[in-house]
Amino acid sequence: MPRSNYQRLLGLIGKLAVLLILGFLVLPAAVVTIAAFNDRAILSFPPQAWSWRWFAKAIAYQDFRDGFRNGLIVTAWSSTIALVIGAMFAFALHRYQFRFRKTLEAVLLSPLVIPHFTVGLGFLILAAQIGWNRSYAVVIACHVVLVLPFVLRSVYVSLRNLDQSYERAAASLGASPLRVLATITLPLLIPGLVSGWLFAAMLSFNEFTASLFVTAQRTQTLPVAMYNYVREFADPSMAALSVMYIAATAALIVFANAYLGLGKVLNIEQSR
C-alpha cells in the first residue's frame, strides 16, 4: 500500500529529527568529557594523550573545595526550609479558602518569571540595609524564595492525585485532624515531598546569577567559584569538574525517575 510506505517515511524523518535534537542536547556534555581527559592544558581536538590529572587538580583546588562546602550548607538549609514552607502552603492552597489566597500564591510563584539578577540585587540591597551582608542568612533566604515555586508545584500535584477517602475514613473513625495529617496524609505525600525537596536541592546547589550578587568571598557557592575560575584560567580543570557535575546530576535524575516517576511529577503522562 503506498499510504503505509508514506507513513513509514514520515515516521523515519521524525525519528531522525528527534535523534538530531538529542545529539544537540548531549553534544556539550560529550565534548566537555573529551576535553576533561585531554592531557594537554590547551584545548585541542582530537586529544593526543589522555590523563586524569585535571580531575586531581580540580579536586585539590581550594576555591572549588570551599565552594562545594558552602554550597552544601546553603542547599541543605534552603531546600529544607523551602520544603516545609512550600508543603504547608500547598496543603492550605489545595484544601482551604482564605483571604489573599490568590495574591499570596501569585507572589510566591513570581520568582519563576522575575529575572534572577533582579532578585539577587534586591536581596543584596536589603541585606546591606539590615546589616546581613556577607552572611549565609541572606544567601539562604534568597535561595528559599527562588526554589519555593518548584516545591509548591511538586507537592500540589501530589495533593491533587491523593485520594481523600482515606482521610475521611480516618476522621470518621474519630481521629483528630492532627492525627489524620500525621498518619494518613503525610505518609501518602512522601513521593511528592521527596521529589520537591530533591528538585529544590538541585536547583539551589546550581543557582548562579542571584548567588553571584548575594555571596561574598566567605560564602561563595560552587557555581560562583566555577564562574570565577573560567574568567581567570583556561586549563581543563573546569572541564573535569563539569564532568563530575554532569555525572552526579544525571545519576540523581535517573534515581528520581526510577523511584518517583518523573513523568508523574512533571505532569506529562499521556491521558487516554
Binding site: F117, I125, V145
Partner: protein, 283 residues
C-alpha cells in the same frame, strides 16, 4: 469542629517568605529612584534621572538587543523542542521514554555555568566544531561563534530547552487522543491530523513554553557574559557591570525595574495575542 484546621500555622511561614521577597523587590524599586553619589555605596536623594538615563542610545540599544535575543531563543527553542516533546509523550516504549526524560531533564539541573563552559569548548576558535571542520577540510578559517549573537543564541537555546520540552509535553499529554483517532478514521493523513488537530490543541502548552522561555532567557547572565564576552550584552550583564564595577547601584536598580516592566508588557502581549489560539480547542 474547625473546618480548616492548621490554617494559620500553614500559611504564616509562606506569608513571611512572601513578605521578605516583597521587601527585596521594594528595595530595588526604592534604589531605582535614588541619586548615585560617585565613590559612595549609600544612595542620594530621590530623583527620576536614572530612568531618564535609560533612554540614552547606549542603554536603549541593550534593551533592544535583549528583546531580540529573547525572541530568537524562544522561537528557536519552540521549533527544536516540539518534536522532542511529541516523541516524549507519544512513545509506546517505557525505556525510550525514560531515556528521553533523563536526557531532557538533566541539563535543567546543571546550572548555567557548567553548560555555558561546555558550549565555549564546543564553539571556540580551537573548539570542537571548528577543529572537526578544519581537520575534515570543509573550512580553512575557524568560524567565529564566540562573541557573536549566533553563539549566544545557540547556547541559550540549549539552556532553555528542558523547560520548553516539559511545558510542551504537559500540553500535549492532556490532549484526548480520540480527536486524533476521529480525524484519522475520517481519512485525514498524518500531516493533516497534526496540523488541524494536534497542533491547535497543543497551543496552551506552546504559549506556556514560549512565555517561560522568554522569561528564562531574559534572566540569563553567564551565557551572554562568557560567550558574548562584552560584545553581546544583555540587561543582566549591564546590571552586574554597573553594580560591581562602577558601584552605581541606583542605576543598576532602575535597569532591573525597567527590565521587569518590559518582561511584564511582553508576556502580557504574548498571552493576549495567543488567546484566540487557545480558544480553538473544543474544551
Amino acid at each position: 469542629m474547625n473546618p480548616q484546621p492548621f490554617l494559620r500555622t500553614f500559611t504564616a511561614p509562606a506569608a513571611l517568605c512572601a513578605f521578605g521577597f516583597l521587601l527585596a523587590l521594594a528595595a530595588v524599586l526604592q534604589f531605582s529612584l535614588r541619586a548615585y553619589i560617585p565613590g559612595s555605596l549609600d544612595p542620594g536623594g530621590f530623583t527620576l534621572s536614572n530612568f531618564a538615563d535609560l533612554l540614552k542610545p547606549l542603554y536603549a540599544r541593550v534593551f533592544f538587543d535583549t528583546v531580540v535575543i529573547c525572541f530568537l531563543t524562544a522561537i528557536s527553542t519552540l521549533i527544536v523542542g516540539y518534536p522532542l516533546a511529541y516523541a516524549l509523550v507519544r512513545t509506546q516504549s517505557a525505556v525510550i521514554k525514560s531515556v528521553l526524560l533523563v536526557i531532557v531533564v538533566t541539563p535543567l539541573f546543571l546550572g548555567e555555568v557548567v553548560r555555558t563552559y561546555s558550549w565555549i569548548i564546543v564553539l571556540g576558535n580551537n573548539g570542537f566544531i571548528n577543529s572537526v571542520l578544519l581537520n575534515v577540510g570543509i573550512i580553512r578559517q575557524p568560524i567565529q561563534f564566540m562573541f557573536t549573537t549566533l553563539g549566544v543564541v545557540v547556547a541559550l537555546v540549549h539552556v532553555t530547552m528542558p523547560v520548553m520540552v516539559i511545558m510542551l509535553a504537559a500540553g500535549l499529554s492532556h490532549i484526548d487522543r480520540d480527536y486524533q483517532r476521529a480525524a484519522e478514521s475520517l481519512g485525514a493523513g498524518p500531516i493533516r491530523v497534526f496540523l488541524t488537530v494536534t497542533l491547535p490543541l497543543s497551543m496552551p502548552g506552546v504559549v506556556a513554553g514560549v512565555t517561560t522561555a522568554f522569561a528564562w532567557t531574559f534572566s540569563a547572565f553567564a551565557t551572554p557574559q562568557l560567550i558574548g564576552g562584552g560584545r553581546v550584552n544583555m540587561i543582566s550583564n549591564l546590571v552586574y557591570q554597573l553594580g560591581f564595577s562602577s558601584f552605581n547601584f541606583p542605576f543598576a536598580a532602575s535597569l532591573c525595574v525597567a527590565g521587569l516592566a518590559l518582561t511584564i508588557v511582553v508576556l502580557s502581549a504574548l498571552r493576549l495575542a495567543a488567546r484566540p489560539l487557545e480558544n480553538i480547542g473544543p474544551h
